[in-house]
């Protein structure tokens, strides 16, 4: 427990977890449409504002888990309620809390039927997403991790597009099937280490076979969530059919859970297996980057295009994690946030055009630049960010990841470069069609430009695009301590193993 910096006084993290849940319970009793909208906005807004103090009380020089709370929960099985944040999770918590009010705003007009249940699902989602990022007890983590499937399933299945039934079931089955073995791995770790407290499971002398088995169970669960090539097939379906808010949550937060899990669990709990299996995973990431790029290039559906681009972008994140050096891992964490900001905004933009044309077909949205100048201006900024144009956020992230990759293995880094080029190709192709189109554009004169609400929704995203793009230092500072600590421990572990093996032979 010396790894925890217990927070005295107000339990901020628990407040962040359970406030949306309480808000959701209120919605069970009051069903008014307008009330539901304003109430959800209020609850997510309050959660977002109350998450700001996290930054103030967070001490980035410490490598401990901060703002921690620990209560006994099920003593017989050594299960405790322990939450806390460190440099790896704090940005993801903030990303979640800050993005949720905009998800509510994005659904303001989009969702016209069964508004209260929709907002109920959104709020419950928020609870479980924050819970996943702050849980330091593996059972608590798993409960949030799995519970999330239910509201997300309902968001897609009830409010989704025409093929929503297929997409939602695929999403549910894929993710659930991936995480059943995770449960076995958790129990096995508990039996070895005697506790479900995650930090106590780290850096234990497990045998190599045990580590490899646990790693594979972890990897299957997290790779499906990321999703890594070749486990990605649920993603395009789910993204395309989900309502805008669902797509934004999926892209911005849900996908990050996979990479967060790899960082939090794979590296420190199964270090030997990580060293052993890093290379194939790195090449899988490259395959994902290239595959995502080429597939995105061929899409006619805007949401599908962005979905496949996510496969590519998340490939960069896993690439950064498994090169196992400071630049790579920091770049990966930054890239997680960047992808959340940029892709979230792109989905919002597609949602906005969908509300007008009721189609996601690229061919039907050509040439809207003339009638929607604000829309295309914003779209341009976010598209530039999506293919890592210098000055935008993704540039920093991808640059750091590539720098880390070069440090690790030149061939690997060179293989990732075409992915960056492909990103420019497919984003510019989309941009060209939407802004100008060709000579045979459909009549778009009935379109109205973005309203105030929509511009307000997008502005903060734009702010972060340039803030991280031009001055990333504050963000890097937040994560640097924890990442360094993690990698130092990893190095010590490796040296220790080498010494041990020399002594043995």
């Amino acid at each position: 427990m010396e790894l925890l910096l217990i927070k005295e006084g107000f339990p901020l993290l628990s407040f962040l977890i359970f406030l949306p849940l309480v808000g959701a319970v209120v919605l069970l009793f009051f069903h008014g449409q307008t009330f539901a909208r304003f109430w959800a906005l209020l609850v997510t807004g309050v959660t977002a504002v109350s998450s700001i103090p996290l930054l103030i009380s967070f001490d980035s020089s410490s490598t401990k888990y901060q703002l921690a709370e620990a209560y006994s929960w099920i003593p017989r099985f050594h299960i405790n309620y322990i939450v806390g944040v460190d440099g790896i999770s704090i940005l993801l918590v903030l990303l979640t809390t800050l993005i949720m009010p905009f998800c509510v705003l994005a659904s303001w007009k989009y969702i016209q039927q069964r508004v209260a249940p929709f907002m109920f699902c959104l709020l419950v989602m928020e609870t479980s997403m924050i819970g996943v990022f702050v849980a330091l007890d593996f059972v608590l983590f798993y409960i949030f991790w799995e519970f999330m499937l239910i509201p997300m399933y309902l968001l897609i299945a009830v409010w989704g597009g025409p093929r929503r039934v297929y997409a939602s079931i695929k999403f549910f089955l894929y993710t659930l099937a991936g995480s059943v073995l995770l449960l076995v791995a958790i129990i096995a770790l508990y039996l070895k280490s005697g506790s479900f407290f995650i930090p106590e499971m780290m850096w234990q002398p497990y045998s190599l076979t045990f580590q490899i088995l646990v790693f594979l169970a972890f990897f299957l669960a997290f790779a499906i969530k990321v999703p890594m090539f070749p486990f990605h097939t649920w993603l395009p379906a789910a993204h395309v059919e989900a309502p805008t808010a669902g797509s934004v949550i999926l892209a911005s937060v849900l996908l990050k859970m996979g990479t967060y899990g790899m960082l939090r669990f794979c590296l420190p709990i199964t270090p030997d297996a990580t060293f052993l299996l890093a290379t194939p995973i790195l090449w899988l990431s490259i395959a994902g980057i290239i595959y995502g790029g080429f597939t995105a290039l061929a899409q006619q559906d805007m949401k599908k295009l962005i979905a496949y681009s996510s496969v590519g972008h998340m490939g960069f994140v896993t690439l950064g994690i498994f090169v196992l050096n400071t630049r790579g891992v920091e770049g990966a964490i930054l890239q997680m946030v960047n992808h959340g900001v940029t892709t979230g905004a792109l989905f919002l933009l597609v949602g906005m055009i969908y509300e007008r044309t009721h189609s996601r077909e690229l061919a039907l949205a050509t040439g809207v630049g003339r009638y929607m100048p604000w829309f295309v201006t914003l779209l341009t900024f976010f598209s530039l960010s999506a293919f890592a144009f210098p000055g935008t956020n993704s540039f920093i992230g991808e640059f750091m990841v590539l720098a880390g990759a070069f440090q690790h293995n030149t061939a690997l880094a060179l293989a990732a470069i075409p992915g960056a080029v492909l990103a420019a190709a497919y984003m510019l192709r989309m941009l060209q069609k939407i802004v100008w189109g060709g000579t045979a554009n459909p009549d778009q004169s009935y379109l109205t430009d973005l309203g105030v609400r929509e511009v307000v929704v997008l502005t903060p995203f734009l702010l972060f695009v340039f803030w991280i793009g031009l001055g990333p230092q504050p963000f890097v500072n937040l994560i640097h301590g924890s990442v360094n600590h993690l990698l130092e421990q990893l190095q010590d572990w490796q040296q220790h193993q080498q010494v041990a093996s020399v002594l043995w032979h």
């Binding site: 929960w73 099920i74 003593p75 017989r76 099985f77 249940p117 059972v139 798993y142 409960i143 949030f144 799995e146 519970f147 499937l149 239910i150 399933y153 309902l154 299945a157 009830v158 929503r164 039934v165 939602s168 079931i169 549910f172 089955l173 659930l176 099937a177 059943v180 073995l181 449960l183 076995v184 129990i187 096995a188 508990y190 039996l191």
Partner: protein, 471 residues
């Protein structure tokens, strides 16, 4: 006070008998009597929760163990009485008899969990079984196919066969030890050298309870009986007897056989067969009750997993698991009873658009099904998780892996029901009105399924300590 609940039930049954003597027995009167006595039983079990005593020449033990089960049984009875209102699917002139046999069955189950002597166990088991055998064919003959008769015949024939096995096992036990008291048998077996025949005797006795639990290989009756019995009866068969089955399985598994590893292996095989058979068959079902029947077989497999540790903790977890299973099944049967307009069977398609027709029922059903599928934070998840933990602690990695693969298979059929409820349009299916009693039962069930899932500690601890006292 010690046998207060049993006395209340017996009085209730007699009252219903008097009601049934009237020329035109009133439907509302019989329901009211049943409900009053159901509530009184629940209150009585709570009042006598801490009673202790050994009655009837030591054949009938009232202790913490039995009282815990009595509370669970009485609670489930009360909830099922809360939602069977109108008893659709049973002819009106036999409503009084229906409730009469229902109470007698529960009386038998309560006596069963208290019995600690072979003959007493047999008598109570038969009392509860024969009451249930009668409930099945009481369904009205709506289809003209006499489906209920077929179900009743299957239930009784398989049941009697299981009883036969049990009697044979009991005779062997008596022959080996010269006594019919479980306590003396325990001492005798503990002091004698291991004999293979002990294993056979105990397994044969267990066959009778595996039949009640619907575990492989005593599961054949399940789908047809669930389908043939009316919705209310199927709800009773799926829930109440399982408590008694688990209670008695534990009572017999604490007897030392001398061949523990063999018993463990056998249980593991039975558990896995139950799971695979139940889950794979459930995948293709169109009738909701049949699906729940097969899912019940799979869950019986999980109970056997918990039991195979042969330790107090595993037994405690098994009790927790069965309590959770019954709560979730009650939630499902509550919805089946309401969704069935005139007592006919409910196909999964019939639930189309239930979300629009009655959101509350859809919510209860989704909670029950997600719980059965083992999604957190519901009680089904915690039960599954604790079972897997205790089994893996006993070092059965392969069994645990196969069990979690089963949960991945199972999610598909639970989810396809949820899909129909939430995403398919109702078309011309009418809205469903639910009364206050049903709403109350539904809300209580949802709250219990969630709360007991999040806070399992107290119940598991209590159950484990209580089981410890049996040794």
């Amino acid at each position: 006070m010690t046998i207060f609940p049993e006395l209340v039930l017996a009085t209730g049954a007699l009252t219903l008998f008097l009601v049934s003597l009237a020329k035109t027995p009133s439907e509302r009167l019989s329901y009211a009597v049943a409900l009053v006595f159901g509530t009184a039983t629940f209150v009585a079990t709570l009042l006598s929760f801490h009673s202790q005593g050994l009655l009837f020449y030591g054949a009938y033990a009232v202790d913490q163990y039995s009282q815990l089960f009595k509370v669970l049984i009485a609670f489930s009875l009360l909830i099922s009485l809360g939602f069977v209102k109108n008893l659709k699917g049973v002819s009106i002139d036999i409503h009084a008899e229906y409730y009469l046999f229902l109470l007698l069955c529960v009386l038998g189950l309560m006596m069963l969990v208290s019995s600690v002597e072979l003959i007493a166990i047999l008598v109570s088991l038969e009392l509860s079984s024969f009451a249930l055998y009668l409930l099945v064919p009481m369904r009205d003959d709506r289809t003209g196919l006499r489906m209920q008769m077929e179900a009743g015949m299957k239930y009784i024939l398989f049941g009697i066969m299981a009883t036969g096995f049990m009697l044979y096992g009991m005779s062997l036990l008596f022959g080996l030890t010269g006594t019919t008291y479980l306590k003396d048998i325990l001492v005798f077996l503990g002091n004698s050298p291991p004999q293979p025949v002990v294993v056979i005797a105990i397994l044969m006795v267990q066959a009778g309870f595996l039949y009640k639990l619907a575990a492989f290989p005593m599961h054949f009756w399940v789908p047809d009986v669930y389908q043939g019995a009316c919705n209310a009866t199927a709800g009773v068969i799926a829930t109440l007897p399982k408590f008694a089955a688990v209670a008695l399985l534990i009572r017999f598994f604490i007897l030392p056989t001398g061949y523990a590893p063999m018993v463990v292996e056998l249980l593991a095989v039975l558990a896995l067969c139950s799971m695979f058979y139940g889950n794979l068959c459930a995948l293709v079902q169109k009738d909701l009750k049949r699906m729940l029947g097969f899912s019940g077989i799979a869950h019986a497999g999980f109970i056997l997993l918990a039991l195979l540790t042969l330790k107090a903790e595993g037994y405690g977890v098994a009790i927790y698991y069965i309590a959770g299973y019954v709560l979730m099944n009650l939630a499902c049967f509550l919805v089946i009873n309401q969704a069935s307009q005139g007592g006919e069977n409910v196909r999964i398609d019939d639930l189309s658009g239930l979300y629009k027709r009655q959101p509350m029922l859809a919510f209860v059903l989704a909670t029950g099904l997600f719980g059965l599928a083992g999604i957190p934070p519901f009680i089904g998840f915690m039960g599954k998780f604790l079972v897997l933990t205790t089994v893996l602690r006993a070092d059965h990695l392969l069994v645990v892996c196969l069990a979690v693969i089963n949960t991945a298979i199972a999610i598909y059929y639970y989810l396809s029901v949820v899909k129909v409820v939430y995403t398919v349009e109702p078309e011309d299916r009418p809205a469903i009105a639910v009364g206050p009693m049903v709403q109350l039962s539904g809300i209580v069930l949802v709250i219990m399924i969630t709360l007991l899932g999040v806070f399992p500690g107290k119940l598991v601890d209590y159950a484990s300590t209580v089981v410890q006292s049996l040794h």
